[in-house]
């Protein structure tokens, strides 16, 4: 099996939704194969179907002032923050095309597996915690588990969308705007904080793609120009915007 890999730079959240919409349609019509989108978003809060507004701590005025958007979307899960330095992945996969054929939860476990292995590539031991979907660092002594990646997916007509948000090197202070995933008693962390030396975003992106390939027993076809895959797709992110922030 093969999945396509599309990498975009920093994409505004609404554009990311539109991108997913186009890819889902194309996947459903069989115009494209399974496709993994990797990108980053400017600061944004998203509320999943189970989200409680109470889990957003910051006031609307404060968020507006900081330029943080809020989107209510159709994935599972609670409140999530996305921002620069966080690798966001949207696997647009037809679950029926996979062997073994996966249920929704098994699919979530596979995403976790890929991220766990990617962390392992940088010497960071992480694990699952029963009942708390996502990827967590190990607890030790008085130090509790910390969340390093969040997962929330949507499935319609067998096609997956949304996906994961992997904290590579984001500004962790931004997570104080919310109670991530509605879990109040655990902190978030990033690969930058856990790994020594801290890996670059490029290296992490490669590791995540490679481990997705392993976990889904797939070849990984990185298509640099997205319109080669599907005419009409935007060009590779806004490279200029990414550089400006570095």
């Amino acid at each position: 099996m093969i999945f396509n890999l599309l990498q975009f730079g920093r994409v505004p959240y609404a554009e990311g939704l539109e991108l997913q919409r186009q890819l889902i349609e194309a996947r459903h019509d069989g115009r494209i194969g399974n496709t993994l989108v990797l990108l980053e978003h400017p600061p944004v809060l998203t509320l999943g179907r189970n989200a409680s507004r109470a889990n957003i701590i910051a006031s609307d005025e404060f968020l507006a002032c900081r330029g943080v958007e809020i989107h209510e979307i159709n994935r599972g899960g609670d409140v999530t923050y996305h921002g620069p330095g966080q690798l966001v992945g949207y696997p647009i996969f037809d679950l029926r095309s996979l062997t073994p054929r996966l249920g929704a939860v098994e699919y979530v476990r596979m995403i976790e597996e890929a991220l766990i292995r990617a962390c392992g590539d940088f010497g960071v031991q992480v694990a699952r915690i029963a009942g708390r979907t996502g990827v967590w660092t190990m607890a030790g002594g008085s130090i509790q588990e910390k969340k390093i990646a969040a997962i929330g997916i949507h499935i319609a007509r067998g096609i997956t969308s949304h996906g994961f948000a992997f904290n590579v090197n984001p500004d962790l202070r931004d997570f104080q705007l919310i109670i991530p995933c509605g879990i109040a008693d655990r902190e978030v962390t990033s690969l930058e904080r856990e790994a020594d030396p801290a890996p670059s975003m490029d290296a992490v992106r490669n590791a995540v793609a490679r481990q997705f390939g392993h976990v889904f027993s797939s070849q990984v076809l990185w298509i640099e120009t997205p319109s080669d895959l599907l005419p009409g797709l935007p060009l590779t992110g806004t490279a200029a915007a990414v550089n400006a922030d570095l």
Binding site: N50, G103, E106, Q219, V220
Partner: protein, 553 residues
């Protein structure tokens, strides 16, 4: 009076079978006991006779589909000869093909049970699906259809949300949404009925389900009113025992079977009659409602996962212990595991190749070659050419399994595995048999370059007929490469090493020499490639490389 044709049970532990062929078409007249369709299970292959005379009005299970036993596979409508004298042999037992099966249904079933055909279409319950092994409930976030709306099969019907998963659930059937039992916002356990499609005003629907009509709700609704008569058909006994039972007007389900698998023996029935029909000690098989016979609806498997109903044990296998049907998820996993094992590479063969001659050619030519042709001279085109030449002689290695057939590919499309930071990709040299050495060398260099540069197009991958992978660059001796499905073989290239070797000169003298060796491993699909063929293939490749004499351009 239409008669349903049911999937017969072909053996004790067989719960489903595949319909291989319909011998009649809808509209054909059929006589009673005339062969109607053919089925095939893992143990049994049989022609099934028609349960009644009439006209085949409907085929519900198409050829190739696998159906649970007692599922309705077709309907026979009124024909000229459809008289009431036919004792409603609706439950088509496999007695004719397999004497080991249970009591024929005619004995147990009063004709009065004839099923009215649902005017508003068959009632189909919509159940809460199971989203994963350990997920037992979900919240319905939105109904996409309202009561009264018409819905197509597989059209999104409602949305549910569990812990982290959000999904649109397609309708299990086409029809009119007649009832929503769990409104949006409420949480429902898996397998509970959340809505009903069709079956408006069909009070008898519940009773139908006992008969194996496609309704998943049978367990809860029909359990309180089990039909003793229907149960009897699951009680195993001999004709003699049944005759005794009839003569003494004894209901078979009241007798406790002590024979193999709960079979009622002659001693059992005689001792029962002797005791004056004392109620049987809790006979586990008889106590269960008839509904636990496998139900054919697609939703049926999850409907009987543990926790939803205590009567999840099919009555047909009364061996000690609990027989719990696999959840749909479990059975998919099991099936795929088997599939994966079956389709995974089974066999490898490793050959050691003397590469000295090729090493010398390359050392001598490489500078001039790059200057002349603009492409580096590596070992890959040598190996690839040897493979192509051998594949032309042995098309079976360039073939794929397609169902039960073998496709011999017209062209030789060689996939070259390239390991990159972000994963493995196998771009393909199409119609490689048309290219000479230089063409192959250029194609390999071009594909590898473009793979690294993320410039490959989707149509340049995935159409290979044979793959070569070269992990030897990491210093390994040899690997055991995994076949790139649906291809049937893959060649792994090991590392190139200098070794002392015994060489025999022309006059027969042995001496030790330093030679270059390289291991090649063929991973092959033993379903279509015999070990002898694999060995022959590799011997040919070895001969081609050992004694290289092709112009490299």
């Amino acid at each position: 009076m239409p008669i349903e044709v049911l999937m017969p049970q072909m053996g004790e532990s067989i719960f489903e079978g595949t319909i291989t062929k319909w011998l009649k078409k809808p509209g054909d007249a059929v006589q009673r006991d005339e062969p109607l369709f053919e089925i095939s299970t893992d143990k049994v292959d049989a022609e099934i006779p028609s349960p009644a005379a009439g006209v085949l009005t409907e085929i519900r299970a198409q050829e190739g589909s696998t159906v649970q036993i007692n599922a309705v596979v077709g309907v026979i409508g009124d024909g000229a000869s459809a008289s009431s004298s036919a004792p409603l042999p609706a439950k088509l037992d496999a007695a004719s093909t397999n004497p080991e099966t249970s009591v024929p249904a005619q004995e147990a079933k009063p004709p009065a049970e004839a099923k009215p055909d649902g005017a508003a279409g068959p009632r189909q319950d919509v159940i809460m699906p199971q989203m994963g092994e350990s997920i037992f409930e979900g919240t319905i976030t939105k109904w996409l259809k309202q009561v009264g709306d018409t819905v197509q099969r597989d059209e999104p019907l409602f949305e549910i949300s569990t812990d982290k998963v959000d999904a649109e659930i397609p309708s299990p059937a086409a029809g009119v949404l007649t009832e929503i039992k769990v409104p949006a916002g409420q949480t429902a356990q898996i397998n509970t009925v959340v809505a009903v499609i069709g079956g408006a005003g069909e009070a008898a629907a519940a009773a139908d389900s006992v008969r194996g009509a496609p309704a998943a709700e049978s367990t809860p609704t029909a359990a309180p009113q089990p039909e003793p008569a229907a149960e009897a058909e699951h009680i195993r006994s001999s004709p003699l025992v049944r005759k005794i039972a009839r003569e003494h007007n004894v209901k078979m389900n009241a007798v406790r079977g002590t024979g193999a698998g709960g079979r009622v023996t002659k001693e059992d029935i005689l001792s029962y009659i002797e005791k004056g029909g004392a109620p049987a000690a809790t006979a586990p098989t008889a106590a269960r409602p008839a509904t636990s016979a496998p139900v054919p609806a697609p939703a049926a498997a999850p409907a009987r996962t543990p926790g939803t109903t205590p009567s999840a044990t099919p009555t047909i296998t009364p061996k000690p212990g609990e027989l719990v049907p696999m959840s749909r998820m479990r059975s998919i996993i099991a099936q795929r595991m088997v599939e994966s094992k079956r389709t995974s590479p089974h066999v490898h063969t490793v050959f050691k190749i003397d590469f000295t001659r090729i090493v010398k050619i390359r050392e001598r030519e490489k500078n001039k070659y790059e200057h002349r042709n603009g492409v580096k001279l590596t070992y890959m085109p040598f190996i690839t050419r040897a493979v192509i030449a051998t594949l032309r002689k042995m098309p079976i290695v360039n073939a794929s399994m397609e169902g039960d057939a073998i496709r011999y590919h017209q062209h030789i499309n060689i996939g070259i595995a390239v390991a990159l930071e972000w994963g493995l990709i196998v771009p393909v040299i199409k119609e490689a048999e048309e290219k000479n050495f230089l063409g192959i060398a250029r194609a390999i260099a071009d594909l590898a370059d473009r793979a690294r540069g993320k410039k490959l197009k989707p149509d340049e991958v995935g159409s290979g007929t044979f793959t070569i992978t070269n992990p030897g660059i990491f210093g390994e001796q040899f690997g055991m490469p995994i076949i790139n499905q649906p291809e049937s073989a893959i060649l792994g290239v090991g590392g190139l090493f200098k070794e002392p070797a015994v060489v025999t000169s022309e006059d027969g003298t042995d001496s030790i020499a330093i030679r270059h060796f390289l291991h090649l491993t063929l991973g092959f699909d033993h379903r279509i490639i015999d070990g002898a063929d694999a060995g022959k293939f590799m011997a040919e490749v070895k001969k081609y490389l050992d004694g290289w004499n092709e112009d490299i351009g």
